[in-house]
């Protein structure tokens, strides 16, 4: 309290100006970050005639849910959603299991050959074979155009492995292991029954990092998948948003070309909202772990 009070008295004129400038800048930051997201939302439920002529700026006008009706009637989007959910759940499970178990093993100072293994792993952060040779390996393993191409080539991210390792190094004291060993507890049991229950934070961080990366994966799907029935949401989104592929249900009942184009624009805003809903709904719950993850990563960065 004393500290705050003194602060208050000592606010000089230059400090008042400084505070005011900072406040205005932060308001600006807030606006810049939120407005595009807000605009997506209001544009997606407004009459496209108003949106396309710049009359929708602060609030929705001529509210219509036509765009959403079209989107929800579109099979591709549902399929993309389903595929993305499958890839995200399977992929993240594999990611987290591998990353945590290897991260724990690497955090153990008594692991013979630890230094050599670490060099083997860290080297890949500085040099890689590149896009084409990696594609060839995936091809030789007969993974092209299978679900596994979305899961196996990204089974572990070395950066996340290092984060997990430094987390275990700094939170699991060697004394705990020694005590457990004396009681006859072996490594696997120690890991599953003692280490994991006290490492909920890092589990959450890993689930978050990996799930986001699966949800947003675009390029691997582009090069490894061929049949449309396996496309994840991001590819469907690209087709609609960037390549302007018309949504099928739109063609039948729209009379003129202009009407169709307007509906297409409306659908684009709606599609972005639909694709971002899961992330935005989870955001308040996960943002804490996001910060934790970045901080653990920076300890040894």
């Amino acid at each position: 309290m004393v500290h705050i009070k003194r602060n208050h008295i000592r606010r000089s004129r230059s400090d008042i100006i400084f505070d005011a400038v900072v406040f205005v800048i932060m308001l600006f930051v807030l606006f810049i970050c939120l407005y595009p997201l807000y605009f997506m939302l209001i544009a997606s439920i407004s009459d496209p005639n108003y949106v396309l002529t710049g009359q929708v700026i602060l609030y929705p006008k001529g509210i219509t849910f036509l765009g959403y009706e079209k989107i929800l009637g579109e099979e591709d989007i549902w399929m993309g959603y389903r595929n993305t959910i499958i890839y995200t759940i399977l992929g993240t499970t594999l990611n987290v299991v591998l990353t945590l178990s290897a991260g724990y093993a690497l955090s153990r100072k008594d692991l013979p050959g630890r230094r050599g293994i670490l060099i083997f792993i860290v080297f890949t952060m500085f040099f890689n074979g590149g896009m084409i040779p990696t594609y060839m390996v995936v091809d030789q393993l007969h993974l092209i155009d299978t679900m596994w191409a979305m899961i196996l080539p990204t089974a572990v991210q070395v950066w996340n492995l290092m984060i997990a390792r430094s987390f275990f190094e700094s939170t699991i004291p060697t004394e705990l292991l020694d005590a457990a060993m004396i009681d006859g507890c072996r490594t696997l049991r120690f890991f599953t029954q003692i280490v994991l229950p006290v490492s909920k934070a890092i589990i959450a961080v890993m689930v978050l990092f990996y799930a986001i990366s699966h949800w947003n994966t675009f390029f691997n799907a582009l090069i490894y998948l061929e049949s449309e029935s396996k496309y994840p949401l991001q590819i469907i989104l690209r087709n609609i948003l960037i390549q302007n592929q018309p949504v099928a249900g739109m063609m039948d009942d729209m009379a003129s070309l202009i009407e169709r184009q307007k509906a297409a624009e409306l659908i684009k805003y709606g599609v972005i909202v639909v694709a971002s809903v899961p992330v935005l709904v989870l955001y308040p719950f996960v943002q804490k772990y996001f910060v934790t993850g970045i901080m653990v990563g920076s300890i040894k960065g």
Binding site: F23, M40, I57, V137, A155, F219, E265, Q287
Partner: protein, 313 residues
């Protein structure tokens, strides 16, 4: 550790076996990850040999004829080599020049905010754009920056300007790329600086306040030196990544109209290699890219260790 004292004189293999059996559970935990790294990260490194061959799928990596530096020469002599090379380097440098200092400035200012609640809100909101996928980001750019119907151009025309076709002008490609990146990444990149700032001793600030130092002065003389080591580490990391600039976004933002600015080495590799099936040639181009990246990391790290005592390894 003392348990091994007696084995020190025994042969390497004996010790290895003893260690291995004593620690087999640790190796079991590691095995799948090491297998993954070997298959998906090291085997492609062997595939780099393709760059020096006329690779054909029927003959395989070991059977294809060796052609030395032919593919590299072809790339260096191709008519658009300098353009692609320049695009890659200038985009990376521009990106770094904007994306390195802005999170630091943001963190410094946020740290000086008086209103706790508002501060928390701004910080939480600032990294929300980070979660948006590249595809959605580029989709949003297309919508917002459209010359006839984009909301940004409505603002520009309302202020009396001419509508700008952001996504089609080659001169604007890099700016759109870099500043949309600033929008997306600043909050996330600032987290680590904000953490570094909270670890600066409050005593320093109080002592400076007693001496009558203003907030601006304290920011410059206490906060900035306080986060310097973090900033240098981040700069090193970023410099090391300069050749691996986010390629998905460049590919998605590419149109036939802005291709003269948006073609970078990695998009070129993608098109030549996977769309054009010129495996050897595109592998050579990709290898050229990663070798430059690797050399850059080593130079940057060495220089920094000599000059500032901070290094990545």
């Amino acid at each position: 550790m003392t348990a091994y004292a007696g084995t020190a004189k025994k042969s390497f293999w004996f010790r290895f076996k003893l260690n291995f059996f004593k620690h087999w559970e640790l190796y079991l935990l590691l095995a799948p990850t090491l297998l993954y790294i070997f298959i998906f990260l090291y085997m492609p490194m062997g595939g780099v040999l393709m760059a020096f061959e006329d690779y054909s799928a029927t003959k395989g990596i070991f059977g294809s004829p060796w052609v030395g530096l032919k593919h590299f020469q072809r790339f260096f002599n191709s008519y658009n080599f300098w353009q692609i090379f320049y695009n890659t380097i200038s985009l990376s440098v521009y990106n770094l020049v904007a994306n390195f200092p802005i999170p630091i400035i943001f963190a410094l200012l946020l740290n000086q905010m008086r209103m706790r609640r508002f501060k928390k809100v701004v910080q939480t909101v600032s990294y929300a754009p980070y979660f948006i996928s590249v595809v959605v980001l580029v989709g949003m750019l297309n919508l917002f920056l459209s010359p006839q119907t984009g909301v940004l151009n409505f603002f520009i025309t309302a202020l009396g300007g001419e509508p700008v076709y952001f996504m089609a002008e080659p001169e604007l490609f890099q700016s759109v790329y870099v500043w949309s990146g600033v929008w997306q990444n600043t909050g996330q990149a600032a987290i680590i600086y904000i953490a570094a700032l909270t670890s600066i001793s409050q005593d320093l600030h109080e002592a400076a306040m007693v001496d009558g130092a203003s907030k601006l002065k304290r920011t410059i003389h206490i906060d900035i030196p306080g986060i310097m080591p973090t900033a240098i580490t981040m700069l090193l990391l970023n410099l090391g990544r300069i050749m691996s600039i986010g390629f998905e976004k460049a590919l998605l933002m590419q149109t036939t109209l802005n291709i003269s600015a948006s073609e970078i080495i990695s998009t070129f590799v993608y098109k030549q290699g996977l769309l054009g099936a010129q495996f050897s040639y595109s592998t050579a181009v990709g290898l050229f890219n990663s070798v430059i990246g690797c050399v850059l990391v080593i130079i940057v790290n060495y220089t920094s260790r000599k000059l500032t005592d901070t290094s990545l390894w």
